[in-house]
Symmetry: C2
Subunit: 204 residues, 2 copies
């Protein structure tokens, strides 16, 4: 029997650096995570491959999957649906692979409801002023938008309780190392390995 | 307020390599664990320093501490007591340092009763036959003694359920890395860091 993989959900307030951390994780050679492929109703761009970049679906297909409860989370954005297909995640995990998903706080909350056995990691800023710096230095936002974002960030940090772990993103390398440690540690938890050793006592 | 340290208890069957793993951990420069100093009634050997190698106590003092419940665990061995003083462990942890303790399975069980919030890591052999190899190649044991040890090892592996994590000691470097990952992950658990972020929301 194959030991099941983990669903690793990385989330945190907008501007904290989720995307950068995710890219760093997947650029490292010893990373063995599968990246969770999203489903969308938007049209494929040039070079995008179905089942690799996204699962491309029609609006009817997507809405039918919503009705059947086949999405771990979904949202509508600029007229298109985006979501995480449950079947793909469960199949990959059942094959013993860890699935990694980087997502906004609202999406993570939806997943927690449908997949409570996932591993939920909150990426936190070193401080609120540092988060404000990061949002501001993007340079594209108006003052009002920045204030809005900070209000949202506060609310999101207050939702930290829904997560299993909190990783401070002081430096990308530190955050990446901690996330990989957390996954390695989870694979050593007694609940996960007990069966293997019970077998050992029977067989050996 | 300083965040409390962890009490890390490494145990596992005799012959599995606990001592080797402990030495490897403490030989690494980035290790920040304090080694738990044992208390004993045996006389100091030349060069041994009280409070560094051991806390040296008279038999009366030791027995008085046992009566007061001031030892996390203790055992008598060749006419002398050996034990883990609770005050030292609690003080070190309250100063924000992690205390590392390598101990036999029976001692770990005593500690679990008195200090359930500790982090209990079971070092397991890759297989029972591999454990038998390791015991045999020490070369000093009779066949009967080896059989006895294997029976004990089986019983000890069955007690795995009392631990939080299981680390397979296939190679010392792998086991060491996993133990350090587990400690790092535990420091990121929501229960441990929540307060820090609640403060951040108040102050910032």
């Amino acid at each position: 029997m194959i030991e099941k993989g983990l669903l690793i959900v990385l989330s945190g307030p907008s501007g904290v650096g989720k995307g950068t951390v995710r890219k760093e994780i997947f650029s490292q050679e010893d990373t063995r995570f599968e990246y969770s492929i999203s489903m969308t109703t938007r049209l494929p761009r040039e070079g995008e491959v179905d089942g690799v970049d996204y699962f491309f679906k029609s609006r009817e297909e997507f809405e039918s999957l919503i009705e059947q409860g086949k999405l771990l989370e979904y949202a509508e954005f600029v007229g298109n649906y985006y979501g995480t297909p449950e079947d793909y995640v469960r199949q990959t995990i059942n094959n013993g692979k860890d699935v990694f998903l980087e997502i906004e706080v609202e999406g993570a909350k939806q997943i927690r409801d449908k997949f409570p056995e996932g591993l939920f990691i909150f990426l936190a800023p070193p401080s609120l002023s540092e988060l404000q710096n990061r949002i501001t230095t993007r340079g594209t936002e108006t003052e009002e938008l920045i204030l809005n974002r900070m209000t949202t960030a506060r609310k999101e940090i207050e939702m930290m309780d829904l997560y299993d772990y909190v990783v401070e993103n002081d430096k990308v390398e530190n955050a990446t190392e901690k996330i990989k440690s957390i996954v390695q540690a989870e694979h050593c938890r007694i609940e996960r390995v007990k069966q293997r050793y019970q077998k050992m006592l029977e067989v050996d």
